[in-house]
Symmetry: C2
């Protein structure tokens, strides 16, 4: 019965953010706002100055929870020239997780916990910092068979501290899921735009709302998008094949199936407490992963359990 | 040299709108606001009452420019029980044009001019009326080999009166173009949503901006979408095949090609007068269609010519 009442958890450790662009800078600013002790580093002096003006201590000595907030191609070299406390927990914000687990994860072993906040905009860099960026966003935090659960909770607490909802997930399940809802949408947007370009100026002249929505992410930095899909190529190819299977179905069936999913998804996201079942999960890998697989999230950390909810029906 | 100065055109004829839902009700309200004499009819008494309260005269006797603002399946029966002046010009707002030309066009011969304003939202019905709906929108107005150019101008003037930009186009070219920028985006959105549903609750739980944008139109009424794609099945199949050809290219090439088109399109739409070349076109079918094929629009009607612009570069 130790779990009946909220009990104070361990003192919150400091957070050190490496890379102070849109994601890292926003995280650092949000954590300062939440009263956490925050330090950070960026190779760009302008990004360092911007973060310092928001209350971030600029240093090359990193301890507590060390967050790698750099582009995927820079992940393996981001800590070069910096000193990481031997007891620090290391996490990242990269959009794919298996490849980061294989590189950064291999270097830090059980001290590494992969993460991925599902937010960000087409903008980038320290001028795009927004302390509210994570409010209400989902934040995947990876639980591998050898993940130290205490370190996983440290990372989850960082996400919760800035208003995100935590999704416990394995790196492989994460990559399969985001292939379907992030990498494939980028490829479809690119194909839609490119094919409309093939169709000529009259087609583009008549383009309106559905084309604008369907191609919006095609405006993102192509190098960023390429790194994202190439870094998750296997799951992306599998998810794209599922879309192509759907596209050869009879159109009325395809449209009805898409509408059912889209309507349920919109309702689920806007329904608030209705349509959700509150629950608590023990601090146990299997229970946490089952919560994530059911579409659930962790919203609070208590001493001996976490609180959250799963969608109903 | 009759064309050097704007010259008053013929007195603007009355407009009669059949179907007073979102599109027809918005058009009627906008025309009332522009000082035009507007009458209309709807099978729904509530839609008639709403239009009447906005200054639309409710009547079954239609004259001037008669606008069919009803869903595609209702197009051939929309005038049943109504009286159409033998000299009236008949147009429509349907999202496909060849099939309407074959049915309504066959019934009204040279008095029929097909049209399609590229606007509207996921909402529908008379409660979704917005007199500003057409401001800045493209409005395709069809020029077939046997189209009476004076009647074409009457319809174009209705579009210009509510703030739209007119795209001269044949029905066949229109249908090929909107297949690429409207029907295919709806099918891709449906396939993306359905495939994410296949991927399971975890995938939908991690869905964020790119999925939301890419599936937005999958929330539209499935019967409306089905009628739209089935009514333009040949061009839609051809445009979908072009997307599928793009999807099998190497991803970096696909992403770069999509980005180029999307960036140019966004720039073209937001650049204002920059990047556009102003021109005038004679009241001549070939010249007007060439303007439309180049991505250009008509913005003003004068006595012996029209003014407009084409994108540069």
């Amino acid at each position: 019965m130790t779990a009946e009442f909220p009990v104070p958890t361990m003192p919150a450790p400091p957070v050190a953010v490496v890379g102070l662009g849109q994601l890292g800078g926003s995280l650092a600013a949000a954590l300062v706002g939440a009263g956490r002790q925050v330090s950070g580093w960026d190779v760009d002096p302008a990004a360092r100055a911007a973060a310092e003006s928001r209350g971030v201590q600029i240093t090359r000595e990193l301890s507590g929870v060390v967050v790698l907030a750099v582009p995927l191609p820079a992940m393996t070299t981001a800590l070069d020239g910096l000193t990481v406390d031997p007891d620090a927990t290391v996490t990242d914000l990269g959009s794919v997780k298996t490849s980061v687990l294989r590189t950064v994860g291999a270097a830090y072993g059980s001290r590494f916990v992969g993460g991925h906040p599902m937010c960000g905009t087409e903008r980038s860099g320290h001028t795009a910092v927004d302390p509210d960026l994570f409010t209400g966003a989902r934040w995947a935090v990876c639980l591998e068979p050898d993940t130290d659960l205490r370190r996983w909770l440290r990372v989850a607490e960082v996400a919760l501290a800035v208003g995100a909802e935590v999704v416990p997930v394995t790196a492989a399940e994460h990559d399969a899921a985001v292939a379907a809802v992030s990498q494939v949408p980028h490829l479809l947007a690119a194909a839609l735009a490119a094919a409309a370009g093939d169709a000529g100026p009259l087609a583009l002249s008549l383009a309106a709302g559905s084309f604008r929505d369907g191609t919006r992410v095609a405006g993102s930095d192509p190098d960023f998008v390429t790194a994202m899909v190439e870094g998750n190529s296997g799951p992306t190819a599998a998810a794209l094949a599922r879309v192509q299977e759907r596209l050869i179905r009879p159109w009325p069936e395809l449209i009805a199936a898409g509408h059912t999913v889209a309507a349920a998804h919109t309702t689920g996201r806007t329904a608030g407490p209705t349509g959700r079942r509150a629950l608590r999960a023990p601090l146990d890998r299997a229970a946490l992963l089952a919560l994530g697989r059911a579409g659930g999230v962790v919203t609070h950390r208590r001493a001996a359990f976490v609180e959250g909810w799963v969608p109903e029906g």
